[in-house]
């Protein structure tokens, strides 16, 4: 499955990032002008032709004198720099205030809990039967402001989907939050942006911005329990998974597996990525289930040493978890 993952800050895909783009351009233009002024002054100072006795140097005996217009120049320079900075500061505050305008009413609320090195995503709902739990992937309806609560189970992480919004840290013992209003359909990639240990580089997430109806379809599907396995191989996989303590860490709705320490696997195979870092696919599933420690050393999932037929069975079962 090939997907275009897009992680640029100029993704322009949400209200928040549009404001970023405008502000960035303003800052860039003002800073570029200031820079050119400095370089112009530098170059002119170096190359200008001086009459044989016109400079205020020690050789000419005038090193204690200065060009009389320099003082005015200094004051003018200070005024220009000061004004420029004040203007930029005001632009920054204005943008900041407008980005901080909270969503009118919380139509959609998600809690993301960061772990070393994966994202636990939970769609909050009034009653438990409507709660969706998934991992490393968020689906959002376009145009709807979503309020994301940010927590951490271990160290400090940072939630960052550049095309949609600026980042916000997830800090153990605190609850932070961020509001995003996506404006463009598409698939956007994000990454943890605060060094969180060995596999920090492999803690990505995908945000899928859908039309409202597609989003509801996805959400309803997520509420369904896992389909029971149909083929013998998948049944063998199911037996293995439920008897061998996979359920101590993982949950699969509709089965005895109900651990919450690790990602929810109910609809694993319909996700776009695996282990927060690889595209979902049979080959990657094989590799991950067989030996997670060699792919992401230090990850919390142990390598348990499966026999080949056990491996085939487990992967076959996992592939049914769409």
């Amino acid at each position: 499955m090939s997907i275009q993952h897009y992680q640029s800050i100029f993704g322009n895909a949400a209200t928040e990032t549009r404001q970023f783009n405008t502000l960035f351009v303003i800052f860039l233009v003002v800073c570029a002008i200031m820079y050119l002024a400095v370089i112009a002054f530098l170059i002119l100072g170096l190359v200008r032709r001086r009459r044989s006795d016109a400079a205020n140097t020690v050789e000419e005996g005038r090193h204690h004198d200065s060009n009389p217009r320099m003082q005015a120049g200094l004051i003018g320079w200070a005024a220009v720099v000061g004004t420029g900075l004040v203007a930029l500061a005001i632009a920054s505050f204005v943008a900041d205030r407008s980005m901080a305008v909270a969503a009118a009413h919380e139509k959609l609320s998600i809690t993301v809990t960061a772990n070393q090195w994966w994202w636990d995503v939970q769609y909050n709902a009034a009653d438990n039967s409507k709660m969706v739990r998934t991992a490393n992937e968020i689906h959002l309806p376009v145009g709807v402001p979503v309020h994301i609560y940010l927590k951490s189970n271990d160290v400090i992480h940072s939630f960052w989907v550049p095309s949609l919004a600026g980042k916000q840290d997830l800090i153990p013992g605190r609850e932070n939050d961020i509001t995003i209003t996506p404006r463009k359909l598409g698939i956007y990639r994000g990454q943890c942006a605060e060094f969180c240990g060995a596999e920090h580089a492999k803690m990505a997430l995908v945000v899928d911005v859908d039309s409202y109806s597609d989003f509801i379809k996805w959400w309803r599907h997520q509420l369904e329990e896992a389909a029971p396995p149909a083929t013998p191989l998948a049944k063998a996989g199911y037996a293995f998974v439920t008897s061998r303590n996979c359920g101590a860490c993982h949950a699969i709705a509709g089965t005895p597996a109900s651990g919450t320490v690790g990602p929810d696997l109910t609809h694993l195979a319909s996700r776009r990525t695996l282990a927060a870092s690889m595209p979902m696919g049979e080959g990657n599933l094989y590799g991950w289930v067989a030996d997670p420690q060699s792919i992401k050393p230090g990850t919390r999932m142990p390598t348990i040493g499966l026999e080949p037929d056990q491996l085939h069975a487990v992967v076959a079962y996992l592939e049914t978890l769409k």
């Binding site: 993952h5 200008r48 140097t57 090193h63 800090i171 990639r189 990454q191 060094f195 060995a198």
Partner: protein
């Protein structure tokens, strides 16, 4: 009340005092110099080398050691860049890469940038101020040894595969006991203790030297701008280093004895670390930058043949930068979820701090405008500094804005920003000043040709290495990642950066080759090869151990340019015992004659004792108690006089 015996002794000593040889019209020239040489040179051999209190030797050691750490830190960067040259690379695994960037940042910040500035200051400041020694030269020696031992701890641990891997900033709770078991993070935290003790000692030495040992007539208003910069920096060190000392000690105690400063589940707070660390961390970068502005003032003055325009403005800019630097630290924490209204203050402060620096830049450019710039190698580095640093300063203004920083924080845009301000703003002036003061330090000139080639290699290589990082950040590349996936557009910027990094490395190697070659084959330098104006050029290159035959008197901001063939001096200091002149703080009127300590091994021994205390306290808290005993004995022995008898004039033996 004073016993008769003591009064008689006082009188006897007074009679002896009258017989002591002093410099002056009756004792000058070669005869004086020979006797001063005998008095001031340190004992020969390895023990003498270890026991030296000569600020020039200690300064040289600091510089050489810091340059070695620059090379080591650069080698780490080369490996990092090789790993990042292509996506999904497996040259270096995650764990090793995390150690590499931790070591790179820690080495560059703690073992290179601050010590090299201290080292240059320790070498040149007494010469620039017209005196023969720093204040507290044994403390100066101690500070060097603590620095070296801290570096050995860090690199020794790295070589033994217990080097730190939590970043140079070691955020909790990642660096705490639960998520970083073992001793890696403790090694880092204790390296901080070594280097911070070293820096604080050097800061006290510098403040006291600059305030009390200046040449007569060198009022604060006539003091060279580099001395002003170091005074501000030393005060900044005094106020900021305790913050990192405190938070790293709290980290060690969380890890070793179970305190809970950073543990949110026991009423602690992970953000306590960030506040304390950045309260130090932000002033730290100005501690690195302000000496470099001093270098720029020195070079610009000499190579434009006139003093810096608007000296009072530059002084006020240095002081206000030093003060403002303490009000910015929260801009490193914009993503942590603190109240947005509070952030606005730090945005304003972060932008305000640009103003004094912008004024300094105007003053340097005005000096060039009003003078006759000579484009020799040190001046080229100043020009490179302006071109590069101002870009970094402007990207700094960009990230001072909260909405912009929330996208750019912790991305390669930030990596670009701080390399622009640190390499452009500190390394370029440093290479310029090392070229400039090379003749004073070694007695030979560096090769102008190799210097020019090296400058252009560094300038162009730097742009190639770091400019693309702005784009990598804008395309979504976070920091501290050992690899990145294909398909995000990060391949080209990273490849360019890697190529550029090797050009930069070659330029640094070329600089070192130039230095080594020039050390043995460079043109012999006269006393004042650049025709400069400050007092260090009023003595030989390199200076004799006693710096000046007579203590000079200063009558203007540009003493040698106003000297008219003769140098006013004071007379009357002892010749056969080490002595300097203390002057008053503001007006620099002669005040006191001060003996200078003899060389001693006790600073080294005390540093070893303290070092053993620090290193063993990584393993057991009792080390603090038991290790304190040898440290106390060594410190007491340091101050205890070699012989318990009174002298006609005081000596410190």
């Amino acid at each position: 009340m004073i016993p008769q015996r003591v009064k008689q002794e006082d009188e006897r000593l007074a009679r002896e005092r009258a017989k002591l040889a002093r410099d002056g019209p009756k004792l000058k020239g070669a005869k004086l110099e020979a006797r001063l040489e005998r008095t001031w040179r340190r004992p020969p051999g390895i023990l003498g080398w270890l026991a030296t209190v000569d600020h020039k030797e200690i300064g040289r050691r600091y510089i050489v050691t810091a340059l070695i750490f620059l090379a080591l830190g650069g080698a780490l960067a080369a490996v990092m860049r090789l790993q990042l040259a292509v996506p999904d690379n497996n040259l270096v695994g995650a764990q090793r890469y995390n150690e590499l960037f931790t070591m790179h940042g820690s080495t560059m910040m703690f073992l290179f940038a601050v010590p090299v500035m201290e080292g240059v200051a320790v070498f040149i400041i007494p010469l620039m101020l017209g005196t023969r020694s720093t204040a507290f030269p044994r403390l100066n020696a101690f500070s060097y040894y603590m620095y070296v031992f801290g570096g050995l701890l860090l690199w020794g641990a790295f070589a033994l595969n217990i080097g730190p891997d939590v970043g140079w900033f070691a955020y909790t709770p990642l660096s705490g006991p639960q998520f970083s078991p073992g001793k890696r993070a403790d090694v880092w935290a204790q390296m901080i203790t070594f280097t911070e003790v070293s820096a604080l000692a050097a800061a006290v030495v510098l403040v006291c030297t600059i305030l009390k040992t200046r040449a007569p007539g060198m009022t604060l208003a006539r003091m060279p701008l580099f001395a002003w910069a170091m005074l501000v920096v030393a005060v900044m060190i005094i106020f900021s280093m305790p913050a990192v000392a405190l938070c790293s000690s709290m980290l060690i105690s969380d890890r070793l004895i179970g305190t809970n400063f950073y543990n949110a589940y026991e009423h602690g707070d992970a953000l306590l670390w960030q506040h304390l660390f950045w309260f130090f961390g932000h002033p730290e970068v100005y501690i690195i930058f302000l000496p470099a502005t001093g270098f720029v003032s020195v070079i610009t003055e000499t190579f434009c043949r006139r003093p810096i325009f608007a000296y009072p403005v530059v002084v006020l800019a240095l002081i206000s930068t030093g003060i403002l630097a303490f009000g910015l630290w929260v801009h490193h924490m914009f993503a942590t979820g603190l109240p947005r209204v509070g952030y606005s203050f730090y945005t304003s402060a972060s932008m305000t701090v640009a103003i004094p620096t912008a004024l300094q830049i105007f003053c340097w450019l005005a000096t060039m405008w009003d003078g006759r710039p000579r484009l020799q190698v040190p001046m080229l580095y100043v020009i490179g500094f302006i071109v590069i640093f101002v870009i970094g300063g402007l990207t700094g203004v960009i990230i001072a804005s909260v909405p912009l920083d929330l996208e750019l924080h912790d991305t390669y845009f930030i990596v670009a920003h701080f390399h622009y301000v640190l390499i452009g703003g500190a390394v370029f002036p440093l290479l310029g000043i090392l070229t400039y003061w090379f003749p004073k330090i070694t007695g030979r000139m560096m090769s102008e040709t190799l210097g020019k080639i090296g400058f252009w290699m560094l300038f162009l290589g730097f742009q190639l290495a770091f400019f693309p990082m702005h784009f990598a950040g804008l395309l979504g590349m976070p920091r501290r990642v050992y690899t990145y996936p294909a398909g995000l557009g990060l391949e080209l910027p990273n490849l360019l950066s890697t190529v550029g990094a090797f050009v930069v490395a070659s330029a640094v190697v070329l600089f070192v080759i130039n230095g080594l070659f020039s050390l043995y084959r460079g043109t012999i330098a006269p006393q004042n090869p650049w025709g400069a104006t400050s007092l260090e050029w009023a003595t030989a290159s390199p200076p004799p151990p006693y710096n000046f035959a007579h203590i000079p008197v200063v009558e203007s901001r540009t003493p040698l340019w106003d000297a008219k063939g003769e140098l006013p001096v004071v007379t009357g200091l002892r010749v056969d015992e080490k002595e300097i002149l203390l002057t008053t703080v503001v007006a620099a009127a002669p005040d006191l004659r001060e003996p200078v300590p003899e060389p001693s091994l006790w600073p080294l021994i005390a540093a070893i004792a303290v070092g053993v205390l620090f290193v063993s306290s990584i393993f057991s808290p009792w080390a603090v108690v038991f290790g304190a005993i040898p440290a106390a004995i060594a410190t007491a022995a340091w101050f205890w006089p070699k012989e318990l008898k009174r002298h006609p004039e005081p000596v410190i033996s």
